[in-house]
Chain length 267, copies 2
């Protein structure tokens, strides 16, 4: 272990941690630089257990003790500063006291992910980190084997996604589908039935689907509001819907995803 | 209609609208004074359509036009001020520009609510406004006939609950169950089977319940974290659970409620 006290918020060794409140900046920077932020002891531990390599940590002084075990187990630099210094670097009060800059892993190939899968989720254009996190949490709880993301989906490893997912982004394997929606052919080739969730006309209620359609399936979900695009709908084998009462607003996408995951697995 | 310009944030006629950011204060005041806040044109309209009486409105100047139709239809005072005055009264920037102080209605008797009901939700100790709102949204979408609340549940008419519910708190009838859990006897007396959602031992997976148990049922849900209390579990006819993968965090209560509502209705 190597604990290094920092007093200068401009210290160039802290560059991984700058401007954390600037979502647009971090959205570009983190994938480009191959890193993501793990915040708080639990999340850092889960990221390490999932095999993500740590680049460094940044702690407020009084969190040294809580983080002792993690610190002892690593050789990367552990930067320690006053709460004020940490706040000036990151741009916010780090309530959980500990940040780790983690390296990304190469995403698995789509073909490998879906080869033995029974049920996978496919997200199109879900560009809200909270919704991505909520969907991963539901996917983990309800036994989806993988999540596949269109190129314009938000990053599952962004700080907010990780938090809302309760760490499920580390346990549910995922990959990007590119080209979109052409990449869906790999899923169909693996024997998965493509089910597109949409309230529109011509859709079959999930509780009325024949089991042949749900035995091995890919459940496609769009963003809250716009839903799946016309080209995604056209690429599906079957349009499906959650049977809902008339005249009321639909479920939010996290709840809708959980209901649909339940329906294809157990319904 | 009577439009009144206000310039003094201390104007005593604006007392309904003071301290809106103080959740603890408003949590006490609103039920005690028989009022609640509707925010934004859509919510105000939905509250009126649901038969809640308006006491007054408070608008930023530039919202007069948007609200013209609502204003023309009412005789109550419509206070209009600059954005700065409105912010000084309420304590925050009212982005939706329009607030209405609405009167509460007497809640229906539990016996009347459940008499013809097929499926109702029962909440115990759900004291988070966001979660209450999310559960109402799911209840509306998935056709629950009513929601019954233990005495310590958060107020469905609190501003945050209304917003998250997308107005479903106005369309799904609800009442308080008091005493708790003794009041559950009324539900059983009406022929409803009491199903307690709990991940604990002895629970039956929702997808394995006989249809006799779900034909007419009351689905009991506890708060995220603690779940249902021992006395609530003891009062139930059957313990049920969402079949979930091992070793992962559970769903959040909004998603869990939606899955359970789906399961008893369609699963």
């Amino acid at each position: 272990m190597s604990v290094i006290c920092v007093e200068d918020p401009g210290d160039s060794r802290l560059v991984d941690y700058t401007g954390l409140t600037d979502v647009e900046l971090r959205r570009r920077r983190e994938p480009a630089e191959g890193l993501f932020m793990a915040e708080g002891e639990k999340v850092i531990r889960r990221a390490l257990e999932a095999g993500y390599p740590m680049r460094s940590m940044l702690l407020s002084e009084r969190w040294l003790e809580t983080m002792a075990e993690v610190i002892e187990g690593t050789d990367v630099p552990v930067y320690v500063g006053s709460p004020e210094v940490v706040e000036r670097v990151t741009g916010y009060q780090v309530h959980r006291g500990a940040l780790a800059s983690m390296g990304r892993k190469v995403l698995p190939a789509v073909g490998d992910l879906v080869a033995g899968a029974r049920r996978v989720a496919v997200l199109e254009g879900v560009n809200d980190h909270t919704n991505v996190g909520a969907i991963f949490r539901g996917a983990a709880a309800l036994g989806m084997d993988a999540v596949l993301l269109s190129p314009d989906c938000a990053d599952p490893l962004y700080r907010r996604s990780v938090k809302v997912s309760m760490g499920a982004v580390f346990s549910v394997p995922y990959a990007r589908l590119d080209p979109w929606p052409g990449g869906l052919d790999v899923l169909r080739g693996a024997g998965l039935t493509l089910l597109a969730l949409t309230p529109g006309e011509g859709s079959v209620a999930l509780n009325e689907l024949p089991s042949a359609d749900t035995d091995r399936c890919a459940l496609m979900l769009g963003a809250e509001g716009p839903g799946l695009t016309a080209k995604a709908l056209a690429a599906a084998d079957r349009l499906v819907r959650i049977p809902m009462s008339h005249g009321v607003d639909s479920l939010n996408v996290g709840a809708a995803a959980a209901v649909a995951f339940y329906a294809v697995a157990f319904g």
